[in-house]
Structure formats: C-alpha cells, structure tokens
C-alpha cells in the first residue's frame, strides 16, 4: 500500500451531511471485477448537475474532500473508497464517519480525518472564499493547514502508523500465526458443535420455476409527470 504522510492539494467543500456510499458510487458500477477505473463513477448522479462542486473548474483537481457529518453511511462497498482514490482524493475530512467506510479508507491509502463541525464550517468558508485553494494535511502532526489557519484533526494511532508506513494488514496479522493456531486448537476443544459449511448439508434439491415478466405494460410514467 502507498504511504501517506503529508498531502497538499486542492480542498473541496462538500456541504452535505449523510453522504451515503450509494451517492459516492451507485450500485450499477459495482458489477466490475477490478479494483480501479472507478473515477468516472464517483458521485455519478450529482456530477450530472452542472452546479455540483466538482463541476466547478477550481475544484476539479480536488485532493482533499471536506464534508458534513456521517460520511460514508450505508453499503459496505469498498468501491466507494476506490472511486474517491481513483478521482484523486487522498483525504476526506468530516465530523463523523460510518464505521465500515472508515475501515475501508485506511486499507487503500486514504485518510479519513475527524474534525469538529466548527472546524469543518471554517474550512468550508475558507475554501469557498478562494475556490481552488490548496490545503495541507500533515498526518505526522495531525494537522490541517488552510491559508493562515492550522487546525488539529483526530486519527487513531494504529491507523496513522499503518498509513504512514503503508503496511499491509494481512502481513501484520500473519505475524501472529502462533496465536491463531493456539486459538484454533482451543476452539476445537471448547466449541466442538460449531458448524462447518463443508461437507455441505441441505434439504433435498427441488426445481425452481422461472418467473416471467408480464406481457402488457400500460404504465404511462411516474405519477409526478401525469400531474403536470
């Protein structure tokens, strides 16, 4: 994993709370079997709107996203982090992150930095006053600098250590092979009733009939349109 220590780049103010992972990347883009190439899918619906912040020239090359509370709620899709990363974002700053999203960021070299709402409001103001303004996130110092203002952010010690060193989680866990083996021995003795998926057991096979779509569809379109 690539290391992350200091990031300097254009800050993007995203004045929204509850940015869910369906907004970050809609489900239709999750059919791909690769880990990259998701940059066009990022905020797909919102980017159809010319007023959306990423459609404004100075913010196009954004590297640091500043958003409202409860960022990354909803689906566990890691594609949300891949899309942010592919677009160019290395840091997302928000007052609160959904847990699964938060876990996914650090595994892909993206920093989720936590800041109180007052700091977010201040950053939004600074970034809107001078669109395209660069800011610097220093993970070692745990600070964000924007113009003359330097603000602290919160990040777990372990996440910080892993990001700064670019460590791979699986390698870290495999250092504890002895502990895993010891646990597995204890587990077999203490919990002999725990299920295994193999050999497979199930009720008898039965044929599943295939549903069909109705032949007629007289629907005229959404009610909203009919009312007009």
């Amino acid at each position: 994993m690539e290391k992350l220590t200091v990031v300097t780049g254009v800050g993007v103010p995203l004045r929204r709370s509850n940015v869910d992972t369906d907004q970050i990347i809609p489900a239709v883009f999750l059919k791909r079997v690769t880990k990259s190439g998701f940059d066009d899918a990022l905020f797909y619906a919102w980017r159809r709107n010319p007023d959306f912040v990423l459609n404004q020239e100075p913010y196009r090359n954004g590297k640091i996203l500043v958003a409202g509370p409860d960022f990354g709620i909803g689906s566990s899709r890691e594609h949300a982090v891949w899309a942010l990363h592919d677009y160019g974002f290395r840091v997302v700053i928000a007052p609160r992150f959904a847990d699964i999203f938060y876990g996914n960021t650090a595994k892909n070299g993206v920093l989720a930095a936590i800041m109180p709402m007052e700091s977010i409001e201040l950053l939004w103001k600074l970034l809107e006053e001078e669109p395209g303004r660069e800011m610097t996130v220093d993970l070692g110092e745990r600070t964000v600098t924007c113009g003359d203002v330097t603000l602290p952010f919160e990040v777990g010690d372990y996440v910080r250590w892993r990001l700064m060193n670019g460590y791979d989680d699986i390698d870290l866990t495999l250092r504890h092979e002895d502990d895993i083996v010891a646990y597995e021995k204890m587990r077999a003795e203490k919990f002999p009733f725990k299920p295994t998926t193999l050999p497979a057991r199930h009720l008898p096979e039965e044929p599943i009939s295939s549903a069909r779509e109705p032949e007629e569809d007289n629907w005229l379109g959404p009610l909203a349109d009919r009312d007009k």
Binding site: R15, S17, N18, D20, D22, Q23, P26, V28, L30, K31, R32, V33, T34, A45, P69, D70, I73, G74, S75, S76, R77, E78, A98, D99, I100, G103, K107, M117, D157, Y158, W161, I170, T173, L174, D179, I180, Y183, E184, F191, P192, F193, P195, T196, T197, L198, R201, H202, L203, E205, E206, I208, S210, A211, R212, E213, W219, G221, P222, L223, A224
Partner: protein, 467 residues
C-alpha cells in the same frame, strides 16, 4: 462488574489482545460471500499466492446482481454475467461452497445462512455486505466488512479490530396491533439518527423484542447499520433454539445439548453497564414510513411531512430541505396523501416467509390500485419461494395483480434490471431510501410489508387500518 452479550462473544473469539494502540485479533466462525464484494478479494489472494485458510468456514451464493425473471435463460447483461461467472470460477478454483442462481439454496446471503442453520448463537459472522447485522438476531456478533477484509478473512480467518462499544435499545411493553418489527426499527432509527449507533453494537432488549419471531428479530437487527451501528444482537432464547432445531447445519444429538448449554450462557449480566442506553415504549409505536432520503427521516404514518423552517438544527434543516426537494413533496403534506407508482415487497429486511404471509393476508380478495405501475414480490431466497408456493401465496399475489419473482436483492439496490425510472416513487419493504438507490432519480418510502400491501390496494400510502 458483569459483561454484556456482545462483550462475551468478543471474549470467546479473542485470538490476541492488542497491546498499546493495536487492535485485537478476533476469530471469524463464518464468512458469507456473494458476487459483488468478492472478486477483488479472490484476485488479491491469487496475486499474493495465498489460499483460503478454512474453506469449511466459507459459503457463497449469488444475490445482488441476479435477474428475478427468466433465470433459465442466458443473462442479457454481459457485465453482470461476467461477475457471476467470476464468482463461479473463483469458488471452483479455491474450493468454496457455492449456491448459484437456479439452485434451491440460492438466495440473499442473509437468508441463506439462517435457513441452512449455519448462523448460530455466539458465533462471529461476517460478509462483504453491511446488512450482515441481520445474523445478530441469533445472538451472533455479525457485521459487514469491506473487500480488503474479505480477503483478510480468507487468508487468516481473523480480523483485526478495536473492541466495539455497547448500546442497549430497550423496547418495553406490548406492541399495538398492526405494528411490526419494521416499525420498531424505523422508529429507533428516527429517534437516534443514522449516526446514533456509530462504533457500537446494539443489543435489542425488553419484553417486546423477546416476544418476536426469529424473522422479525432479523428485520430489526438487519437495519442496525441504518442507525450507524456495527452490529445488532438479540440474546438467544427458546424461540431461537426452536428456529434452529433440525435445520441442515444445526448441531444434532449430544452436540445439540452441548450447544444449547453454551447458548444459554449468552446473556448480558444483570450488573453489566452499556456505554449508551435508549428506551422505547412499544405502546407508543405506530406504523412508520420514511419521507426523506436517509432511513432516519421517518415518521408515524399519520404524521405530516416536516416543515424544514421549524427545524432548529442547521445540519438537519438543510438535510430536510434537500430531501423534500428530491422526494418531490410539500412541507406539511400528510404522509397518507402521497401516491406511489411501485410497490416492492422483498429484500434481506422483509423478504422472508412471514413477511410474504403478512402481505398476502392483506392483499387476499383485493386487486392492486389502477394507478400503480407495478407490485413486485421478491422472496429472499429460493427456499422461501418454494415455501410460499406450497402455501399458495403465489396465487394470491398473482390474483392481486402483483408480479411473483425469483429470489434475490432485486429492487432494493437497483443493481439488477429491477429498477425505477427518474421521479418514479415506491413504497418499499427494503432498508435504504437514499437518492437513486432504486434507480437513478427514483424516490423511495420505506415501510413494513403490511403498510406496503395496504398501499398497493389504495395507491396512496396507507396502513391496513385504513382499508
């Protein structure tokens, strides 16, 4: 001081206690897999030259991307077909058990685990899907993970995690008639918000919870993630044991007795302290419906769409304004005045046999409203479909004018062809009303199967009491 249910399960899976700032290493008893969040994990293993540590603790099925019609014909969506065939190839190469489309044990992954008896009390269960919290209904510690973690579990059968905080949600008293598990969880999310459970495992407690069936408990635990919680749990009891007994992978004979003895210890001690506690009176609850674009934006069905100007919290006011605009509603409009185009009954939240029975009981003898585009009934699994057909529910749905589909996630997330068009409005028994969740520009109102069925009869949002 005593410990909570979640802490007991954590302790029984502790491989290694983290030192200093390090997380703990915990053992995973079961990982469920599906086509969407696994291909990159298998590829990661392949690139690193690793093999799954325990294929006998993994099981895969196809659900997110599968069509719900014409399953006997080639998939017309080539990208979807590739993703599904990639899962088949990966499972074959790495020796993972797979129940593909067309197999009687195929279905939404969170129905497949419980119905096979693989989800049991006191286990750790993970899946690359946020609604893994469903399995907590059995007193398992079950939570959604990302694709990197899916790879991590395959490689090590462990996860590296900081202990979760604990939260009690007590639902005391007796539920009024017509109020269901879905209404309980929508009311909880409306109360604590989409971030209210962040970092916590919720334990659902109280008289009203322990009277519920396993299906209903699964509905509640399923939406724990919508309150931001890592997981939801219900302490196992006789109802849990009754559900499990005789299922294909449930312990048998002497092992059953041994298991039950252990399962009975899985209770929060009387003197245990939760980090957070919330209490609701069941008597105060009504059928709930969402009006906005996150699951916390819900109200009793008799309420009106809120007027943002009366909301003092700035963040909430801005969110309400934007939601009302997206949803095409008017502030102050009665929720019951909202007309829908589509009714969706299904998903890992409410696609189980009990949900289908509840909907069929209301639809029986009626026909769908003329104004409706369609009523989709999608069973959570193929076994649920077979069961419903044995009970004749399919006939009730068809006579009603509904479409009786094959099992899968379907319109819950708009990944397969079951999608809405822009401005199309649904009442949906699923779990998320995010912008465009059910198709680009679509508008979703979340509700229980009973409310969805009543709405299908009248065309406007209704409860069975309105019929």
């Amino acid at each position: 001081m005593g410990t909570t249910l979640a802490e007991k399960v954590w302790a029984d899976h502790l491989v290694r206690k983290g030192e200093n700032a390090e997380p703990d290493l915990i053992y995973i008893d079961l990982m469920l897999m599906h086509e969407v969040t696994s291909p990159q994990a298998f590829e990661g293993l392949r690139l690193a030259g690793r093999k799954p540590r325990h294929t006998d603790l993994l099981i895969a099925t196809e659900d997110h991307n599968t069509p719900t019609v014409n399953i006997d014909q080639p998939n017309p969506d080539k990208t979807s077909a590739t993703q599904l065939s990639t899962l088949e190839k990966n499972c074959k190469e790495f020796g993972v058990r797979l129940h593909p489309l067309g197999d009687a044990d195929q279905g939404i992954v969170h129905q497949v685990g419980p119905q096979l008896g693989l989800t049991q009390p006191g286990m750790t269960v993970v899946c690359g899907d946020s609604h893994t919290s469903t399995h907590g209904a059995f007193g398992a510690l079950a939570f959604g993970i990302g694709t990197s973690e899916v790879e991590h579990v395959m490689a090590t059968q462990c996860l590296s995690l900081k202990p979760f905080k604990t939260m009690a949600v007590n639902v005391e008293g007796e539920l009024p008639e017509g109020v269901t598990a879905k209404d309980i969880i929508l009311a909880i999310i409306a109360k604590i918000g989409t971030g209210g459970g962040q970092g916590h495992v919720i334990e659902y407690r109280g008289e009203a919870i322990h009277k519920l069936s396993m299906e209903a408990r699964m509905t509640i635990c399923n939406m724990s993630i919508e309150a931001g919680a890592r997981a939801g749990m219900v302490s196992p009891d006789e109802i849990t044991f009754e559900y499990l007994k005789g299922r294909p992978h449930a312990p048998q004979g002497e092992m059953w007795d041994k298991a039950v003895e252990y399962w009975k210890t899985l209770k929060t001690d009387d003197d245990a302290v939760f980090d957070k506690e919330v209490t609701l009176r069941a008597e105060d609850l009504q059928p709930y419906v969402t009006w906005g674009t996150n699951p916390g934006q819900g109200l009793p069905i008799t309420a009106n769409v809120p007027d943002p100007e009366t909301i003092t919290d700035e963040t909430k006011r801005v969110a309400a304004e934007s939601a009302i605009k997206y949803m095409g509603l008017k502030p102050g409009q009665p929720i019951k005045s909202i007309a829908v185009d589509t009714v969706f009954i299904g998903s890992c939240t409410n696609g189980r046999i009990e949900d289908l029975r509840a909907a069929a009981a209301i639809m029986k003898g009626h026909h769908k409203a003329k104004s409706l585009h369609r009523v989709l009934v999608v069973p959570a699994s193929s076994r649920v479909r077979l069961q419903a057909e044995k009970e004749g529910l399919d006939k009730i749905f068809k006579d009603f004018g509904a479409e009786w589909r094959n099992a899968g996630c379907s319109m819950c997330l708009g990944m397969n062809p079951d999608k809405m068009v822009a401005d199309e409005r649904s009442i949906s028994t699923s779990n998320r009303n995010f912008e465009g969740r059910q198709g680009k520009g679509s508008r979703t109102h979340l509700a229980s199967p009973a409310v969805a069925a009543a709405t299908a009869i009248r065309g406007t949002i209704s409860s069975p009491a309105d019929l």
